[in-house]
Amino acid sequence: MDDKGSTMAAALAGEPHANTPKPSFSASIAKFRELGLLVFIILLSVGVQLRNPSFLTWENINDMATNTAILSILAVGMMFVIITRGIDLSIGATLALSGMIAALTVGEFPGMNPILAILLGMGVGLVCGIVLGFLVAKIGILPIIATLGMMNVFRGLTYVAGGGKWVSAHQMPASFKDMATGSILGINNLIFIALIIYVIAYYFANHTRTGRQIYAVGSNPESAKISGINTDKILWLVYAIMGGLSGLAGVLWVAKFASAQGDTASGYELSVIAACVLGGVSIAGGSGKISGIILGSVLLGIMNNALPLINVSPFWQNGIQGAIILIAVLVNAIVKRGVDRNNLMRRKI
């Protein structure tokens, strides 16, 4: 806000080429970003493949894709939250809580249909999300404070629900664990579910009224409200979606790793936010695309998988991930400045 003056001054000082309007400039930047991400992913893969030939084997790719599936499911929900200028730090805990409850339930009733377990997990997540949505939309607590507080509540409940113990592989029926290893039409279930969610989310975000309203609320809450959008409802919806997806991811996570622990996915929210930021979802709200976050998730998935393969100590992963988030955020900001300046120049003529 404060640097508006300086931006203006720079624009007035203006370069001479300002009088050729470039309407597609911001669009081309956005395209360039995704292309850039794709090129970077390919270069990274080639580089890792040269160092370690076991990287691009079918097995490893499948493994990476299943890992990325959970991350990207969460990233879809997080994208909607961030589009409304919010953030959700509680998803790791929501994931753990719903995973734990689903695991305990299937442990108790081994004959249960896995679909029911998924629905149960999603239900738990949905409730968590609705609570958050209530705090953020109705009471008006800052998303970071609300989710930080509830993160602890959910995490504590996870420990309490599990009685401080793990639910381990032998307590889960085979049908439940098969969920993560089985396949539909030759595609692993997890990947299949993730694909379905991409399609639904894409349609929802781009072709439904509510979806567009989410973007409207994020880019300008005041004018969204004035133009008759029920901003409270949208905020509530967004956190509920995030919660439901976290619940789904929780069940899938527990099925995949065949264990539910009190500290499942602790800190995972950071990876999810990283995937969103890498994928070009603007923290300032109002912009973000499904294609972007898929690429962001894939990049993170590859990094997590590839670093150990090229003998980077696992202790470096945190630092590298943090640095990538920071760089992505800064690049976003700088690109945004360029776009804004360009728009200002265009307005001058």
């Binding site: 507080g149 309490v160 930021v277 202790f315 943090g322």
Partner: protein
């Protein structure tokens, strides 16, 4: 100066005086103490209380500058990682043969630099919220701590170093004295200096402050740097108390610290709150923890309680006075 009334220094009324949040805190504090006393007969004992104070005061050092940050309307969630990084660097250097006093100074310096980097990024990239900047640095600082020490613990400090966390002056814990000194300094800085007034002004309206000639960026960088410095101080006391350090020390401190500040009546919307509230909240949460710990309430249940307390503290003022004000949408 008279025209710039920023906090509500209206006419004194007895009713208004006692309806302040700080008095609520005093009441809750007394309530917590009564509850604890009825829960355990060992609670109300001078030695026990004194030693309990030593257990929770380490993170209280970060609460003081965090009050400034929240009054500014920002947030810093990287403080726990800063503590870990400063602590690990200190231990690493000491074990590499650097004399301990120098290592202590470097520990403080590392914290200060971490805070300065946060401040610089927040100021230079105004379009980014402090949340995302400190989120990134939180991962990076903790990441560097892991790179330095991997999964090792590092310790065996000289004897005098343990005085910081365990020592007494007379019968008063050393850490309590240091905290009291810092608390007075920070309260003075916030309430009695031009700098403090500027912080309030910026918290109320950053743009207006900028146009009335406050060097907004400078103030912000100073506040974030102070936070880093105090995270370094926390690292000293925490390390001394534990006798060794690991890259995962102080996890979750950011939540505790923010909970204390918010519970102390400092509004997350910025511009409101007083230092005394946060200090009361430190002791409130500390004694609550200690009391419930005495009757063997699980650490995880405590997590839930602290989380709910945080939500409660933010929600209550909004429920009560929210109707009179136009809703802030962003």
């Amino acid at each position: 100066m008279d025209t710039r009334i920023i906090t509500n220094k209206r006419d004194f009324s007895l009713k208004g005086f006692f309806l302040q949040w700080e008095w609520m805190l005093v009441l809750i504090f007394i309530g917590v103490n009564i509850m604890n006393m009825s829960l355990s007969e060992y609670y109300w004992d001078y030695n026990n209380l004194r030693d309990a104070t030593m257990n929770f005061l380490d993170k209280a050092f970060i609460v003081l500058p965090m009050v400034f940050i929240i009054i500014l309307g920002d947030i810093d969630i990287s403080v726990a990682s800063t503590v870990a990084l400063s602590s690990v660097v200190m231990a690493d250097l000491y074990n590499m043969g650097v004399p301990m006093p120098l290592a202590v100074v470097i520990c403080l310096a590392v914290g200060t630099v971490c805070g300065f980097i946060n401040g610089l990024l927040v100021v230079k990239y105004k379009e980014l919220s402090a949340v995302i900047v400190t989120l990134a640095t939180m991962i990076i600082y903790r990441g560097i701590a892991y790179i330095l020490l991997e999964d090792q613990a590092s310790g065996s400090f000289p004897d005098w170093f343990s005085f910081l966390g365990w020592g007494y002056v007379g019968s008063i814990p050393f850490i309590l004295i240091v905290f009291a000194v810092f608390a007075i300094l920070f309260a003075f800085l916030l309430h009695k200096t031009v700098f403090g007034r500027r912080v309030y002004a910026m918290g109320n309206n950053s743009t207006a402050s900028f146009f009335s000639g406050i060097q907004v960026g400078k103030v912000k960088i100073i506040v974030f740097t102070l936070t880093g410095l105090m995270a370094g101080v926390t690292a000293l006391f925490l390390t001394s108390r534990m006798g060794s350090t690991r890259p995962n020390v102080a996890t979750g401190y950011e939540l505790d610290v923010i909970a204390m500040v918010v519970l102390g009546g400092i509004s997350t919307a910025g511009g409101k709150g007083r230092m005394i509230g946060a200090i009361l909240a430190v002791f409130l949460i500390g004694f609550l923890r200690y009391g419930l710990g005495l009757v063997n309430v699980q650490a995880q249940v405590l997590l839930i309680i602290i989380g709910l307390l945080l939500i409660f503290a933010v929600a209550v003022p909004k429920l009560k006075w929210g109707k009179n004000k136009p809703r802030k949408l962003t």
